[in-house]
């Protein structure tokens, strides 16, 4: 992810909270999510100013200057559309990012004072386990309670 982010596109850093096909690249929660959020916003703003706007201008000039019927002309249309769509989607994604980063933090046990404590059942229920698997875990917990009693 770091290599792709540094060489291909800064957008790959979004993998930290995107849960690509349910997979998590992040092993712990952000200590300062707003720093990451701001970096992503600045990166997109920079991308709009230095990449998308010049591409839109260049390709619009190209489309007026050249004539239809070549692969270059088709590519100019494509890059123009992609630049417009991606600049809009990037801005829309800003508004989702804060919620996603908040959602992504671990849940505390009800009434737990330590920020390091996690509620295992919440984590399991929020993950991609099937209902049967969750039911099996719950059943096992019940059996454990009956066998060993509740911890004091």
């Amino acid at each position: 992810m770091n290599v792709l982010g540094a060489v291909v596109s800064w957008k790959f850093y979004k993998l930290l909270y995107s849960h690509f096909w349910g997979y998590s690249f992040k092993t712990s929660e952000f200590s300062q999510p707003h720093v990451f959020e701001n970096l992503q916003k600045y990166a997109h703003l920079y991308n709009i100013l230095t990449t998308y706007i010049p591409i839109v201008i260049l390709n619009m000039v190209g489309l007026l200057d050249l004539s239809w019927g070549t692969q270059l002309y088709i590519m100019m249309i494509e890059n123009l559309i992609i630049a417009i769509i991606m600049s809009i989607l990037g801005v829309v994604e800003w508004f989702f990012m804060r919620r996603y980063l908040k959602e992504d933090s671990y849940k505390k046990l009800p009434g737990a004072k330590s920020s390091g404590m996690m509620n295992l059942m919440n984590v399991i229920e929020d993950s991609d386990f099937s209902e049967n698997e969750i039911a099996a875990v719950k059943q096992q917990r019940l059996k454990d309670k009956l066998a060993f009693g509740t911890r004091p």
Partner: protein, 96 residues
């Protein structure tokens, strides 16, 4: 026939390659479908975010393809500008 800049002649055969209509827009649609399927398969998969991530790679390829095409068709003015755009695009990656 003359190239676009009318600076030299090129063989018509070289331009007689079969046109591929909107390969990147088709790829974009495929990536969107992939992201939708991901969101359906895994509830944590963020549809929009993952689509933007996958598009990051496609944008890069699209810009490089346009650079190649500008050289292929001898449109140097466009080549210089698109290369500058690509450099600005690449330089920013390690900063963020």
């Amino acid at each position: 026939m003359a190239n676009y800049a009318a600076t030299y002649c090129i063989s018509e055969d070289s331009l007689d390659l079969k046109l591929v209509y909107f390969p990147f827009l088709v790829s974009m649609a495929i990536l969107f479908v992939l992201s939708v399927l991901g969101a359906r398969q895994k509830k944590k998969h963020k549809l929009l975010t993952n689509f933007v991530i996958m598009m990051g790679m496609l944008e890069h390829i699209a810009i490089i393809s346009q650079i190649i095409m500008t050289f292929f068709f001898g449109t140097w003015r466009y080549a210089i500008v698109i290369i500058l755009i690509w450099i600005l695009h690449v330089v920013a990656q390690p900063l963020f």
